[in-house]
Symmetry: C2
Subunit: 400 residues, 2 copies
């Protein structure tokens, strides 16, 4: 007898780890845990301006926003961080009016250096306030046109390494520099991702865990084509948005057999969306997995006071409960009600607290999970050919 | 020969219209276009406070937020509107710290009157500042416990009609009253929904259009189980959230044959998400329909200035273009690139401008579309049995 096949090479657990190790040699985000960040910290100390405005879009802003939004009310930050990312004229005007541009550092971030939104907004800002070496910083690839512009004008630049993709770039200068400038502890951020890195590559504990999850997601991708992240804290709203880009843009691809792949990310916030989207999860079609994210310690004593309200005595049982306990019990109730149905795949991630390490570890773990899923799906997680056609059409329309 | 069947009754176009007409007799939202809003306007005139804080969650806030977010930077509003909706302690604290509570009107909104989040936050606020008839307003059902509380304390109340469901309540007191108080023209809002109402029920023009769309969505629900709304304006971020609740919670149901139904809503924002989610739409699995929403007239002259940037000359073709034109060309490029693929169902809604009539008409149309889809799917759009189990589990956990 003789057997022939043109199946994809089988991916065993061991093979996959080796594939990731091979990839680690030329995909830069894996190694950002051990980069030297002293130049970022040095530069951050020199910034005098009160407002920091990041001009960028997509991968240049979403990760930074995720971390900033998570931490900003739990830390005493020395500066305010803003993002100018959309071409919506009303959005641009209202933000520009709210910021003292004379007391602002502008950080222009674009990997390619020719992102239309970013350059458009920068040109507009430059017409309101003179952007020069004293109030402008550029983060881009070393050979981009934006880099030439900065060099010509003696504007300080930091590099986005060529092997770090936009949506995987939050732990490069793209995210760390603005965060360090506003007073977030980027050593702690690195510690958070080092921990996950080591547990993934050395003890393999994180690897084994993520492998199971990724295998499930990809083996059942045709039944459960939607992955819901249900975050139980409004602080995680930025994380949800970042996750949606990472998951959607990395996994929405054509595979080596020319077959369309893709897992659709959804990010919702508890308890708000347990008053709406939960209905669809519980009674709707079984096409969703659910990952609940909880925060173990909100570091807050805010309590529901003991206060009788005539007529509302039925709700007296909530008196004296901490809000942090209430929101976590709401998460537990949601988890229990989903699990009781037995046919909705659900996992729970509990991060320690509202701190740098927790959010960084969570994000790095999601990057690793994305990379593993892409391997199982025989796709390239790091390109985005599908958005190029639109860019070409747009250019033609604008040049008319 | 003899034929028997237990199929659902066939829904012809004509039958469906009659079903909607029958439903209109006992489902209140259809008729809000012709309600008397003079009491809302009278009350709004009497409010002296500078800040308006809505305490509510889900259907009690999302619609109001959608309209407020859409309009707030295009109108000169007399007051600031805030929402306290989540039990996240850090969110509550940061919002409370930012608002002058002594100069605030609190509007407590809960249809049932016993929403845990709403009562918890109200109790907390009540411990910081005395909530009484001078600074508090209650919007609830006429026989709720919250209503009794208000009556006992001489607090002014407005009623949520029993036949208007929470997520369909934006054009009742729930939305119109806070919006009128901050200075939004609620006559214009009613005009917007009257126009759609009449075109739906009288000339049937809107009916015929929505019928086609709903029929497509439901006939292809197993191929395209995800409906993406791609809004080309940051102003529509609140609308997206409101749509997600409306669509998810109304259509995620078990039908009359005990079969799980549900169309999954996704709301994304152009141009931001054309740098990410668009990749998934274009190259990923064909499981999504796309509705692009454009704003015809942003009423803004904001322009990309003619400014040479050394090194970035390649992008000079964008000089002199209005941002409003740029964002609409970005939308057109996305539409063209999707349509060129020929296998992604896509429709485009262009609303006239950033005004009351446009947003109100759009939202009312989406309510009607939801009702029609529910008819095709043989489900009840107006209940939410799937979230009840979680509420019971939570109550048990809290009473422990």
């Amino acid at each position: 007898m003789n057997y022939q096949h043109n199946f994809n090479p089988t991916i065993s657990d061991e093979n996959l780890f080796n594939e990731i190790l091979k990839e680690k040699e030329h995909i830069g985000y894996y190694n950002l845990a051990y980069q030297d960040i002293s130049a970022f910290k040095e530069y951050a100390k020199t910034v005098k301006q009160k407002n920091i405005v990041v001009i960028g879009i997509g991968g240049s802003t979403l990760g930074t926003y995720a971390i900033y939004k998570f931490l900003k009310h739990s830390k005493t930050l020395s500066k305010q961080l803003y993002f100018l990312e959309t071409t919506d004229p009303i959005d641009i005007r209202s933000k520009v009016e709210a910021i003292d541009l004379e007391d602002t550092l502008f950080i222009v971030i674009s990997k390619s250096g020719t992102t239309i939104e970013t350059v458009s907004i920068f040109k507009y800002i430059n017409s309101l306030v003179n952007c020069d070496k004293d109030n402008t910083l550029v983060i881009t690839e070393s050979d981009s046109k934006l880099n030439s512009y900065a060099n010509t004008n003696n504007i300080k630049t930091f590099e986005i390494p060529k092997d770090v993709g936009g949506r995987f770039s939050v732990f490069s200068a793209v995210g760390l520099l603005p965060l360090a400038i506003v007073g977030i502890d980027i050593d702690e951020i690195l510690d958070g991702i080092k921990e996950v890195h080591d547990s993934f590559f050395n003890s393999k504990e994180t690897y084994e865990r993520l492998l199971k999850k990724a295998r499930f997601f990809t083996e059942y991708k045709n039944s459960f084509n939607i992955n819901v992240v249900f975050s139980y804290s409004s602080r995680l709203e930025g994380f949800n948005k970042w996750y949606i880009q990472l998951w959607g843009e990395s996994l929405g691809k054509v595979d080596i057999n020319d077959t369309r792949q893709g897992l659709t990310p959804i990010g919702i916030i508890g308890p708000i969306d347990q008053h709406s989207f939960l209905q669809l999860i519980v009674e709707g079609k079984r096409d969703k997995t659910v990952t609940v994210i909880k925060v173990d310690d909100f570091d807050s004593d805010l309590k529901i006071p003991h206060a009788k309200l005539d007529g509302l005595e039925d709700l007296d049982y909530i008196d004296g409960i901490k809000f942090s306990s209430l929101i976590n019990k709401q998460a537990d109730a949601t988890i229990e009600s989903i699990n009781s149905l037995n046919d909705i795949p659900c996992d729970v991630i509990t991060i320690d607290g509202v701190c740098e390490k927790s959010i960084a570890g969570l994000m790095y773990e999601y990057e690793l999970l994305t990379s593993i899923c892409a391997k199982f799906m025989y796709i390239n997680a790091y390109d985005q050919p599908g958005v190029e056609a639109g860019k070409i059409i747009l250019k033609k329309k604008l040049q008319k």
